[in-house]
Amino acid sequence: MRSGSKKFLLSKGLDDYFIGVFNAYKFIGRFFREAFKAPFHFRELVNQCFEIGLKALPLITLTGFITGMVFTKQSRPSLETFGATSWLPSLISIAILRALASLVTALICSGKVGSSIGAELGSMRVTEQIDAMEVSAINPFKFLVTTRVLATTITVPILALYCGFVALLGSFVNINAHESTSFVSFFEHGFDTITFLDMFTSVTKSIFFGFTIGIVGCYKGYNASSGTVGVGRAANQAVVLSMFLVFIEEVVIVQVSNWIRLF
């Protein structure tokens, strides 16, 4: 039986930090153990993919289109100075497909999907719905966490590709308003400069982003406490932490892909 005042190994803050990191690793480890072990909840996985895709689609369409359009509009004067406006499709395609599409999609999904997962699981935790699953001999981790993390990992790359296409469409609309360029010619020019490595890096990044958004949202929600305050905190932390990690991953993956590009 424990009694007396609690002793800290380092300090309360540092102890909590290291315990938090350890618990997060345990949570990720459990995800990989559960994800490849039967039973598989395919119906719930498809349901979650559909939910996540539907939630983020309108915002991604709007943001992608405007990003492509505005980026083209802002780049035109600089290229005009050198008489190089014909390079616009290539420039925009590189910027969008290498960096912007996956990043914009990840940030939108962090806000829209990450917060929703954090709040949903947090609310289920504080209202004992997760405990109710457990006492009914249902593995709540497998049913709730595994399906959601897999769904974000699958859906975010698809949404990123869609975002890239819509952004290029926005760019085409802007270019077409200034000079008569055909749709086919725009895309031919654009994709001339895109390599397999660009697409591979972009999709790989999105897979990591999707996994991060799902696992952070689930971790924060699944471990929520302290009633409704805890639910709000879980949703907020899910957004902040997943955005932070997305930027870190972006830097690391770009560095690695640039290093590969040298060979």
């Binding site: 039986m1 289920m124 209202t127 719905q129 457990e134 009914s136 001999a137 249902i138």
Partner: protein, 259 residues
């Protein structure tokens, strides 16, 4: 208060729950300090006590949601804290747990709430068998007409009934009720008490009813146990417990009657 207890169906030679020397603490707070209790087959035991005395902790240990610090907890002959994975799940299927706030899945309607544990645990069941099971338990709790409603459209008492129905669908041998009448008006409380007794009769369950409602304890419990300061001060029939001269028990009863 008219007692509706069914002492004739209790098998006192067969303890389905056996607790010996149970200790549980959270950080510096010692909640349970050496609990001993037997619940016999077919028996309803009401555990009374003030809020925060560890009543809910006790039943959460029985289903393996919490682990004891010390002591032996046997449910249907198995030591709960020694079970893991499939063994623990198999035991949990024999225990129904009715949560204080019902814990209905609010994204699912009543039908799907009831189907969910069946579909997840018994994949061989046909749609017809599942529908029949859902209708049977809804009829048992008297809410067949609410089958397509969402939990948010139900009253507190109806949520409790659906929560109980969701546990009954798995045909448990043991029922654990966590504050079944808390937050309910007196008439709905009486209905819930009657439901607990009818579950005991119809499904031959053994139950622990966690409550601080004296009426609920008297009407539903074959025996009552008073949990104060982390241990049982008295276990016996309601009349025996009520007649005890222990000051702490008397003050608990007096406070309940005054309020």
């Amino acid at each position: 208060m008219q007692s509706d207890n069914h002492n004739d169906i209790i098998d006192t030679t067969n303890a389905v729950i056996s607790i010996r020397g149970l200790y549980k603490s959270f950080a510096t707070l010692d909640v349970l300090k050496g609990i001993d209790l037997d619940v016999h087959k077919g028996e309803n035991v009401a555990v009374l006590g003030r809020s925060g005395t560890g009543k809910s902790v006790l039943i959460k240990i029985l289903v393996g949601l919490l682990r004891p610090d010390r002591g032996i907890v046997k449910v249907l002959g198995q030591e709960v804290d020694k079970l893991k994975g499939k063994e623990l799940d198999a035991l949990r299927l024999k225990i129904g747990f009715s949560f204080q706030n019902s814990a209905l899945y609010d994204s699912m309607d009543v039908r799907r709430n009831l189907e969910f544990p069946l579909r997840m645990n018994f994949k061989h069941l046909t749609k017809k068998e599942i529908d029949a099971a859902v209708e049977e338990v809804l009829e048992a709790v008297g809410l067949l007409d609410k089958i397509n409603q969402l939990p948010s459209d139900l009253s507190g008492g109806q949520k409790k009934r659906i929560g109980i129905a969701r546990t009954l669908i798995l045909k448990p041998e043991i029922m654990l009720y966590d504050e079944p009448t808390s937050g309910l008006d007196p008439i709905t409380s009486i209905e819930i008490n009657e439901l607990i007794n009818s579950v005991q009769r119809r499904y031959h369950t053994s139950s622990i009813i966690i409550t601080h409602d004296l009426t609920c304890a008297k009407v539903t419990g074959n025996r009552a146990a008073i949990l104060l300061d982390g241990s049982f001060l008295k276990v016996g029939t309601f009349a025996e417990v009520f007649a005890t001269q222990d000051e702490r028990i008397q003050s608990f009863f007096n406070y309940n009657f005054i309020t």
